[in-house]
């Protein structure tokens, strides 16, 4: 639904550039569910305050930029066995890499908090209620630091001289 809004919103903006006249859609006489969605999704008909992806969850990390929290987070990462699933420095093991700036469920502080708090399908355990939110935020601070400065997009083997035996 949200994605649909964005696409149509873009279309509307483009349309407005060539046709300044505002278009108001009236519902068709026998509006089925499909028509209803189109009607609701029209930017003119979006009620004020309807969430869009331009404004993700507003949860704020109280430890953003806090070096001590980052250090404690790194210790919690070991104490709670995160290291064994996600690898030292988040390199990836049983679970995905946390050091690649790529996020399955979002990389904003709030989204990383949600992943740890709620757990995720495919096996991320639920930590909310088992450890404090404070500790989760410190883990968020540490985990989000692991990608800093890394470009993992290209793997170039040129010049890699590794001895081969046999063939």
């Amino acid at each position: 639904m949200r994605a649909t809004v964005i696409v149509l919103g873009t279309t509307f903006i483009l349309a407005a550039a060539t046709a300044p006249r505002v278009v108001r859609q009236a519902p068709a006489p026998n509006a089925g569910a499909k028509d209803t969605i189109r009607f609701v999704a029209h930017p003119d008909n979006i009620p004020p305050g309807f969430p869009s992806n331009d404004h993700p969850l507003a949860l704020k990390n109280p430890y953003e930029g806090n070096a001590q929290a980052l250090k404690t987070g790194s210790q919690l990462y070991v104490a709670y066995n995160c290291i064994d699933c996600h690898g030292a420095d988040g390199s990836g093991a049983m679970g995905p890499s946390l050091a690649d700036s790529r996020w399955h469920f979002g990389g904003t502080p709030a989204e990383v908090f949600e992943s740890i708090y709620e757990g995720r399908p495919d096996g991320m355990p639920t930590w909310g209620g088992r450890i404090t939110n404070d500790q989760i935020w410190m883990l968020v601070t540490y985990v989000r630091s692991l990608s800093a400065g890394k470009d993992v997009a290209t793997e170039n083997f040129a010049g890699a001289t590794v001895e081969r035996t046999g063939h």
Binding site: C85, R102, H104, D122, P125
Partner: protein, 617 residues
């Protein structure tokens, strides 16, 4: 039966003739162990016999290792060293799934059965029709959360066929029975507890109407067991734990340990401090063998949990042990602990190949076991007595096995302990050999063993047990061992404990072996080569670059056209393809890994895949 004995006798005569004529069959291959007598003439050993002779058709493959003895030997002989260079790809089948394709397909009644990695889809292919169309496809319900509890990739090591049914395990802890003709699920039984970190990856065997299964989770603080399920009803018949009281472990009046250190009351409790046996690991995630005459099921147990040895002083029985259970009742008849108080993650789950061998002037019923700890064992399978124990790879953690006690003599400098990083331990935690199974040929009397050449540093750290998370307590980075090659495919004489020849490979040889009566042995490599080699000399006869690294095991079968076929999965994964590979994946936009340091070159040669390849002349 008669013709097989004749062949062995002829082989022995030929070998004697060759020796007398100075025909010393040595190999030009480099031997990396540095032992003085590096090359040994390959001879046939008279009096060798597969311990549990096949009762199923030579052209079929009904159970994971082909037979109960785990020989992975095919009686088919159309493919020979002379014509093997003419092998070609005959057909392929994409499994539709990525991740590690361990295990092997089955062939029964001109139908091929496959099981994929998670989500553990199974297929039945009609071999009698061009294009091998599906007879059926089965997509089980299989909890997603299981993927986060499996330490070492979401692999499955295969199914077993019996009585018109296909049996296999789901990653999420269920065992299923499927009608082999229709693909309908007959029953589904929960055997393992995902909430406690238990998953299932092993291949069952079916013995006298009982489906035998075990669990995974040695790194998750589980408590291992072997269980029997009624093949018709799906009801659990017995479960023998691998740690705990005699009652739980099923140690009764018929238990006899060959060695004194295995004799005593409640050793599964007393060899652990306090309650640590409850998270003691000892999971049965490997291969099963069965001797119908002795009525014994053989399997090995995993490492004890956690890797941090300080938490669990004591022998930690029965982790890292070979277990022999009565197939009817599950009673433990004997057990031999290969690595007491393991400090290196040397699981003992590798296959036990049942072979009758000439030793000391008589024929002994043995099992041959290539352990993670680097020793190749020849053990009396009736009693658990160690007859031979010699290193089959480079090792430095032990100076040898004391045959009086069966225990390894440990080098003090290689003991792992909290507070220091122990460097350069060989073999690494992946072992001299891991899940990749060896094969035996009664024609040559040799074992064909895919091995690793890896070493590690080991740093113990404190760890808490949190159910559903790993219970490890160590960092253990690995690297290639002395010589710089990652592995070696070797031929081994289990009567003398000697390597006969070896083929070095750039990467650990993580796929299994197949031996055939035609004198050709097959195996696949991590960099995607599927190879045929001469069973006597190790000379490479043929190879083909399959789509992705091989971590599965080849089988041979007779097609409806009467031709011999060789089938193997390609699809890198498992430890090598997930945990230490770095980025060999492509399909997960959110998981991009840096090049691993252990095998930095691996991603150059392979990425994830999922394809069955079938070859013929």
């Amino acid at each position: 039966m008669t013709h097989r004995l004749t062949l062995i006798a002829l082989g022995a005569v030929a070998a004697v003739a060759a020796a007398c004529g100075g025909g010393n069959q040595t190999t030009a291959r480099t031997d990396s162990t540095g032992t003085a007598n590096a090359t040994v003439a390959a001879t046939s050993v008279a009096g060798t016999r597969i311990g549990a002779p096949r009762t199923t058709a030579a052209g079929e493959w009904q159970m994971p290792a082909g037979d109960y003895a785990s020989s992975r030997f095919s009686d088919l002989s159309q493919i020979t060293p002379a014509n093997a260079p003419n092998l070609r790809a005959s057909w392929t089948f994409s499994t539709g799934v990525l991740r590690g394709h361990e295990g092997q397909p089955l062939v029964v009644n001109n139908t091929m059965y496959l099981v994929t990695p998670y989500p553990n889809v199974s297929y039945a292919l009609d071999l009698a029709q061009a294009g091998q169309p599906l007879k059926w496809k089965f997509r089980p319900e299989n909890a997603q959360a299981a993927a986060g509890q499996a330490c070492c990739d979401v692999v499955n090591r295969g199914a077993a066929y019996a009585d018109g049914k296909i049996f296999y395990n789901l990653l999420d802890g269920h065992t299923v029975a499927i009608d082999a003709n229709t693909g309908k699920q007959l029953w589904r039984t929960k055997m393992a507890d995902l909430a406690r970190g238990e998953t299932m990856t092993m291949a069952p065997i079916v013995v006298k109407g009982k489906v035998l299964v075990g669990s995974s989770g040695g790194e998750m603080g589980v408590r291992g067991w072997l269980a029997a399920i009624d093949a018709n009803s799906g009801k659990e018949l017995w479960r023998g734990y691998n740690t705990g009281s005699d009652r739980d472990v099923k140690v009764g009046p018929r238990f006899k340990s060959f060695y004194p250190s295995g004799t005593g009351t409640d050793l599964g409790l007393t060899s652990w401090p306090g309650d640590t046996w409850k998270q003691g690991g000892a999971a049965a995630w490997g291969w099963l063998s069965y001797d119908p005459e002795l009525n014994l099921v053989y399997y090995g147990t995993s490492n004890p949990g956690p890797w941090n040895e300080g938490v669990r002083k004591g022998d930690n029985k029965w982790s890292c042990a070979i277990m022999a259970r009565d197939a009817d009742t599950g009673e433990l008849r004997w057990a031999f602990q290969v690595t007491p108080h393991d400090m290196w993650d040397y699981d003992t789950v590798n296959e036990n190949i049942l072979v009758d061998l000439p030793l000391g002037g008589t024929t002994r019923k043995t099992l041959v076991h290539f352990d993670r700890n680097g020793f190749g064992y020849t053990i009396d399978r009736a009693t658990g007595e160690v007859l031979v124990a010699q290193p089959f790879v480079q090792m430095n953690w032990s100076t040898g096995v004391d045959l009086k006690t069966g225990r390894p003599n440990v080098v003090p400098e290689k003991m792992t302990v909290e507070g220091k990083i122990v460097k350069d331990i060989c073999p690494s935690l992946e072992g001299g050999k891991n899940q990749q199974p060896a094969a035996f040929s009664p024609r040559t009397g040799l074992f064909y063993v895919p091995t690793n050449n890896l070493c590690m540093d080991f740093e113990v750290r404190p760890v808490s047990y949190i159910p559903g998370t790993p219970y490890i307590g160590a960092n253990a980075p690995e690297k290639k061992g002395p010589g710089g090659h990652g592995g070696e495919f070797i031929a081994w004489d289990a009567t003398s404990g000697k390597k006969v020849w070896g083929i070095q490979e750039p990467f650990p040889v993580w796929g299994g072996a197949l031996a055939t009566a035609g004198g050709v042995v097959f195996y696949g490599t991590l960099d995607g080569w599927f190879k045929a080699v001469d069973a006597s000399s190790g000379k490479e006869l043929w190879k083909f670059k399959v789509g992705s690294g091989v971590v599965g095991n080849p089988i041979s079968y007779l097609g409806p056209d009467g031709k011999q076929y060789i089938a193997v999965y390609s699809g890198i994964g498992g430890d090598m393809g997930l945990l230490i590979a770095g980025d060999v994946a492509a399909n997960l936009p959110y998981d991009v890994r840096e090049r691993g340091s252990t095998l930095p070159d691996l991603g150059r040669w392979t990425s994830w895949g999922g394809m069955l390849f079938v070859f013929s002349l």
